[in-house]
Amino acid sequence: MSTLEIRGLEVTVDTDNGVVEILKGVDLTIKSGETHAIMGPNGSGKSTLAYSIAGHPKYTITGGTVTLDGADVLEMSVDERAKAGLFLAMQYPVEVPGVSVSNFLRTAATALRGEAPKLRTWVTEVKSAMEALNMDPAFATRNVNEGFSGGEKKRHEIMQLELLKPKMAILDETDSGLDVDALRIVSEGVNRAKEANNLGVILITHYTRILRYIKPDFVHVFANGRIVEQGGPELAEKLEANGYADYVSK
């Protein structure tokens, strides 16, 4: 049983026009097995929250705490956060030229498991993870995210989620860019990871459709750098109908 606790998180980013305040005190607690959907208007700071938890160097933490089972996440380097059990499925996965998917996955698995996975079982493991997400095994020899379509990149993220078995995952708009079939396939992948590892999930999305596949326990409305309302799944339906007007005008 793990707990990811975010308290009063404040984050700024350096821009050409000076320092901009983006997160203005975010409070959120996620326990193993729970799924928290975060919905909110463009530019409200959802990805900033995701990146800040993962440790992207672009963001400066100016206040608050993030802990995983009491350990100070903000003190950890990016790779230490992954080793502690955090995973970020990115809104825009990065292309890494010249690095094959199979080499990348094996290096990551070796780092996370503390030893290189046995070659025989590893090959089968990767192959079945790919098949489960309807990915052509040929992806293993391609360079990481290079030339992948938008939807292929998202599948690749969730394949990593299944292979690397984190405790807590932040899925940043994993559903954007997926066709209807892919949405179901990817959602099933997330649900498998939830079941297999009692994964805690922060699911950032703009659409209620994915919430039909991945059932949220909580829905949070994110606006202007903080969580402005929380509720159950019914809140998502309300947002779909009414938009964010009630929240952004405040």
């Binding site: 790779d79 030229p97 010249g98 990348f104 996370l112």
Partner: protein, 362 residues
């Protein structure tokens, strides 16, 4: 050893061709001060397949050179190490040439010729190792329809100086590909040059280099499109790390008035992995006819991409491993063109260790 009779113009460092080169570190190769030994270090490594011979003979130069060191080499000796690949032979396995032990208190003047007969196909891999002061005039002759992959690997030890011209003369419909790897030595200055003498030929000049603290590596490419319908592509990638690591890449492509239907592109990308290193990159396209298919160039110099490192590290990969992956990935596309697994692995390992060395220097 013949007596030098010609008066050579000693470069001062102000000439365009010499403006980057640290002349003081050339052990007198450029000004005649070097003591020339009579060692001949180039040798066959694993024996020769049928259709290939390696002999010592007197040969006139294939092409003129205005490089003063090349002139000095030619003035000193007519004798050439000649690797010859017979017409119509297809050599499946690479032919390896390597170096016997060198020395740095004396210098070697080396003349080399690689000849491909008509329609011959081969891969030649030259492994430049040892600690040496070596000036080399290497010429390659591709007869019509021949196909050569020429791999030259500078893995010299740390005191070495190597100045060379690798000049290919490419006849009708011949295909020339070179992969120039420079990862070792104190000063390495190579002139990979190409001239087309009949239509329908192509040259693909690839290279990688990695300079660490104090090393100077210069690659001065020249492609001469003097005839119609030839194709050239140049792609060199370099990495630098450490105080006073310095690389120079010059890409001169000349499309003469007669060279209608030319298609050429050149690219140089540099990865600056630390402060205190300097990468000079000068693409230079001279076009004397508008009747061409294409001509372009690009040159970039950048640092580690933070987004790439972040992505890899967010999967648990340590910063050092992430850098290693990114650097390997950067060089991969060109190293793979060598086509020999053992050599490729060795170069990738060398790149890893250069990177480690650089990381521990910082």
């Amino acid at each position: 050893m013949s007596v030098l009779t010609t008066n050579y113009l000693t470069p001062s460092g102000r000439e365009e061709a010499w403006r980057f080169t640290p002349l003081k570190r050339l052990h007198g190769l450029h000004d005649g001060v070097a003591v020339i030994s009579d060692r001949i270090s180039l040798c066959v490594k694993n024996g020769l397949p049928k259709g290939v011979s390696f002999t010592r003979e007197d040969l006139d130069p294939l092409a003129q050179s205005d490089d003063v060191i090349i002139e000095r080499i030619r003035g000193a000796s007519k004798s050439v190490s000649h690797l010859s690949i017979a017409a119509n032979s297809e050599i499946a396995e690479p032919v390896f040439l390597s170096r016997s032990k060198g020395a740095v208190d004396t210098a070697e003047f080396s003349r080399v010729r690689i000849t491909l007969g008509a329609n011959a196909r081969a891969t030649v891999i030259v492994e430049n190792t040892t600690d040496t002061v070596l000036a080399e005039d290497l010429e390659i002759s591709l007869a019509p329809g021949s196909d050569l992959k020429f791999v030259t690997i500078q893995e010299f030890e740390s005191k070495s100086v190597y100045t060379a011209r690798h000049h290919a003369v490419i006849d009708k419909d011949a295909v020339f590909k070179s992969v120039t790897v420079t990862v070792g030595g104190d000063v390495v200055r190579i002139l990979p040059t190409v001239e087309f003498i009949a239509p329908g030929a192509s040259a693909n000049l690839l290279g990688v280099y990695f300079a660490t603290a104090g090393q100077f590596f210069e690659h001065r490419i020249h492609v001469d499109h003097a005839v119609p319908h030839a194709k050239s592509n140049v792609n060199y990638k370099g990495a630098l790390a450490g105080q006073d690591a310095h690389t120079v890449w010059i890409g001169d492509v000349l499309i003469r008035a007669a060279a209608e239907g030319t298609d050429t592109y050149e690219l140089n990308r540099n990865l600056l992995l630390s402060d205190g290193a300097r990468a000079d990159s000068v693409p230079n396209l001279e076009i004397e006819t508008g009747e061409i298919i294409g001509a372009g160039h690009a040159s970039t110099t950048g640092r580690f991409d933070d987004e790439q490192l972040f992505y890899l590290m967010s999967r648990g990969i340590s910063v050092n491993d992430a850098r290693r992956l990114v650097v390997r990935g950067f060089f991969n596309e060109i190293v793979l063109e060598i086509g020999d697994q053992v050599v490729q692995d060795r170069i990738m390992d060398r790149i890893d260790s250069e990177l480690e060395k650089a990381a521990s220097d910082v």
